[in-house]
Symmetry: C2
């Protein structure tokens, strides 16, 4: 893939710059333990996921919506029998997620150091605005980025609107991220380029099939590999 | 106040373009009714407010954080005795707030029609990104605005960063909003101008004293009055 035209690089944040999905998986484990009297782990996992998807349009992405869905799923799964103490524990579980320290992924600082100055670097993330600003601040990565944009979703239209607003030519834009569905395919569909770096765990809702013909993007196994192309 | 230099006008959204605080007041009333077996209305109001402030740093502004604080306050106020059915009702209360239709305030369309073209109009709101985008879409006001920015807070630094990012000279900027604390004083402090339009109800957390010397802003009683100055 020829990246000679690229002037602006957008980085996804969660599971591209720092660990995120792992904490959701941990919280789901803990949630299933708290409700183990009522249902099997499998059923609890399924019902929580269904609840999240049902509420996604209303709550959007992020930890607060996840907390509200856990509360609602706990009430439903237990037929309103879940104890008040357990509900308090669920709130605590979410609060701990929000205040969790940021763990950078391997090679992030090295890659940003090398690309800084050569390209305009921006962060494009979805989820909760406050959460994402806080994580960026805690990550100490702010200095590398020209601009940070938190999107309510990452569909083609969200990207197109953003490129228009920032006056970025789609031919000059490269997106780097872990989600084929959110960070790669919408970009390729609007004519930009993308680099896919799979993370070891992906939320079920983010899973899509790889297209038969791989066009407009490459897949690498770790972030530092992008330096071979840029 | 001379507004001849103004080129860009920022509008607050909640309680400036459309009704918002009223729905929080209504939800608080309903919350107090749901818990009336445990405490007086006064005490319930106070405890819910305290909980919101305690959680503000973690949750930020918006309905989802309010919902989580209501759940937590209900558990605490009732000594973990609040029924599961009541907690479900609290969740429903919040969901209804999120999906509430947008009610525009008087004169909004008239004022935007008249200012459009003469000034660059932007929306500057705080709160939940998805909520605010949804409200703007439902309001049918998107066409009037050049840009919409949802801020995690409205302090001097948030405004300064935004003006820098949008390359707006502070002398060319006027902010219009209902909150003296969030829409007026921070702007005046960084050298911009502001118009204050008090709304009949203000969240306790947004209340500040009027400065002794009123400088850099005017107060009007309704939005259409700004047309006399612009």
């Amino acid at each position: 893939m020829n990246l000679d035209n690229i002037k602006v690089i957008g980085f996804d944040a969660d599971d591209t710059l720092w660990v995120n999905e792992t904490y959701f998986r941990d919280a789901e484990e803990r949630f299933a333990e708290l409700l183990e009297h009522y249902e099997t782990k499998n059923k609890i996992d399924q019902e929580l996921f269904k609840m999240e998807i049902k509420n996604l349009e209303l709550y959007g992405y992020g930890i607060k919506g996840f907390m509200l869905s856990m509360i609602e799923a706990a009430l439903e799964l237990s037929n309103n029998e879940v104890s008040q103490a357990t509900l308090s524990k669920i709130l605590d579980l979410g609060k701990k997620m929000i205040s969790h320290p940021v763990e950078l992924l391997d090679g992030v600082v090295e890659v940003l150091e090398k690309l800084q100055g050569k390209y305009r670097l921006i962060v494009l993330t979805k989820g909760d605005l406050l959460d994402q600003e806080r994580k960026l601040e805690r990550s100490n990565l702010s200095e590398y980025f020209h601009h940070v944009e938190v999107l309510s979703d990452k569909k083609e239209k969200n990207y197109q609107d953003l490129l228009d607003h920032l006056e970025i030519d789609v031919n000059h834009f490269l997106m780097i991220g872990n989600s084929l569905k959110s960070d790669v395919l919408p970009l390729v569909n609007i004519g930009a380029k993308a680099v896919h770096i799979p993370f070891h765990t992906t939320w079920q809702h983010e899973q899509v099939e790889e297209p038969k013909e791989k066009k407009g993007y490459i897949t690498v196994s770790k972030l530092t590999e992008v330096l071979e192309y840029l």
